[in-house]
Symmetry: C2
Subunit: 229 residues, 2 copies
DNA sequence: CCGGGCTTGTGCACAAGGTCACAAGGTTCC
DNA sequence: GGAACCTTGTGACCTTGTGCACAAGCCCGG
């Protein structure tokens, strides 16, 4: 259906796994390994080998039958597909507990996500320098985003301010938002929004701890090791 | 198939949404509203109304046709289903940047998740008190888990230590783990594992920013507002 | 040059999840 | 008492995702 673009459309589930493959491949490359099979990569990524092959097939045919995938090449192709060949300046809004930790997080720059600005509404924080950056006022958000070409906004404010901050980010031109506040935020079409919600994760864990999987129905011995998906 | 338990099996996707409903309902209750329709709840949760009804139907029939759902009752039923009627003591392993932020996070206790212990491998950190708790050594993990009845473990160590820490947690008796380290961790059957991975989220955002949805194929006017799912 | 042995790429069948539409069932108002 | 109105609960259908199994394809040894 309408694949007139010639390019296959990459499924969401695949997109979510590409970064995992990428990380595993980078580690493999560092170990000096030149080639990797789907089975090995699947083990490293904690998924099924067929899934790996199908996922990678969306990028084109970069594997060699009987041999596997060339690690360096694959890393490059995945990076290109994920858009990691360019820099993505990030603004963090809300420099409290969490904002501080994020600002100081070293792993940020590793994949081209550079913290370009820190913004907070509290005037008493404007003096501070955090992780080498000056904290700026909320009113400076629009200018900062425009001037430093910020493309991703991270919301680390209290939940009550999340929607307002999201609106400001969108208005300023940010097209991707990552929300850490425990609030439902909505954005206009064309803007991507993802959330990280600690409370939800814990409550899901609580559910499964309260509802042990029914092992009485089928005493199968299949080793269903839960792995990160 | 094998619903001999009499209880319907709650789909994973539904479980992941229950905490969102719960939060929305608590806010609604605070506002003094006694009854809520699936449509209103759907709007608050950022989902489809039919989905809300189907999700809630798994808990039993707690709605009244023509009226809606009684807010207090629903809050109670969801809490019960999620297992939030009891306390879940949590241990945080790795008291660095992120571990500090988590330890100081006030929103923790709100739903019965109490930080019961802080553990780190670095001997120089053992002296410190963080958020009113003394940081304890990795060798104390097993005792701490047993004595304080810890049921959930949070991994906030570097990626290289994640699997090792997970193994220790499992060995100590923890059956639910939340992993913040960017590493694939695997656990035995019967242990729940969830992950929160900042780098992956950013890379997914990067992908969608690099691949604008193909608006040329179908210039439909449907308002597909991306909301948090 | 050919055959054996691997590993990829993918068709297919199935499972899970989402959306629509509507009958069932309750309430309210006259 | 009854009819109009509203909202739930759910069956049917569609989309997306998963896993199996196997043919196609490539390398290497002889
Ligand atoms: N601390 C954690 O470990 C943690 C974990 C998970 C989720 N969260 C969530 O992350 C968010 C931040 O948590 P925190 O512990 O850092 O809170 P915090 O109170 O320490 O920090 C919030 C910061 O946001 C600023 N702020 C408030 N309103 C603002 C606005 N309108 N615009 C810009 N800045 C504004 C405040 O001045 C403050 O500096 C919260 O929503 C919290 O629920 C925190
Ligand atoms: N800082 C952030 O904002 C942030 C954001 C997302 C993800 N993360 C991830 O969270 C993890 C922690 O990040 P951080 O910034 O706090 O790092 P950090 O280096 O500040 O802290 C790591 C802590 O773990 C301790 N540690 C090391 N090995 C250990 C072991 N085997 N057992 C117990 N403790 C051990 C260290 O002593 C240190 O205190 C990392 O994996 C990081 O990638 C951090």
């Amino acid at each position: 259906m309408a694949d007139r673009a010639g390019q296959r459309r990459i499924p969401e589930a695949t997109v979510a796994r590409l970064p995992i493959y990428s990380r595993a491949l980078l580690e493999t490359a560092e170990a000096g390994v030149g080639t990797i099979s789907s089975e090995r990569l699947a083990a490293l990524a904690g998924v099924n080998a067929a899934k790996v092959r199908k996922d990678l097939s969306y990028l084109g045919s970069y594997g060699t039958r009987g041999v596997g995938y060339e690690v360096d090449h694959l890393v490059h192709e995945i990076s290109r597909e994920l858009g990691l060949t360019q820099d993505w300046p990030v603004v963090i809004v809300g420099i409290g507990n969490l904002g501080h930790a994020l600002a100081n997080y070293r792993g940020f720059g590793a994949r081209g996500f550079r913290v370009a600005a820190l913004v907070d509404a509290d005037p008493t924080k404007l003096e501070r320098k955090v992780a080498g950056l000056r904290v700026e006022g909320l009113d400076a958000l629009a200018d900062v985003v425009a001037q430093r070409d910020v493309s991703i906004g991270i919301i680390a404010t209290p939940a009550s301010a999340a929607q307002e901050v999201a609106d400001l980010l969108v208005e300023a031109g940010v097209r991707s938002i990552l929300n850490f506040a425990p609030a439902v935020v909505s954005v206009p079409e064309g803007v991507s929004l993802r959330k990280v919600d600690l409370a939800i994760e814990l409550q899901i864990l609580s559910f499964y701890q309260s509802h042990p999987p029914d092992r009485l129905v089928d005493e199968s011995t299949e080793t269903v090791r839960e792995a990160q998906g």
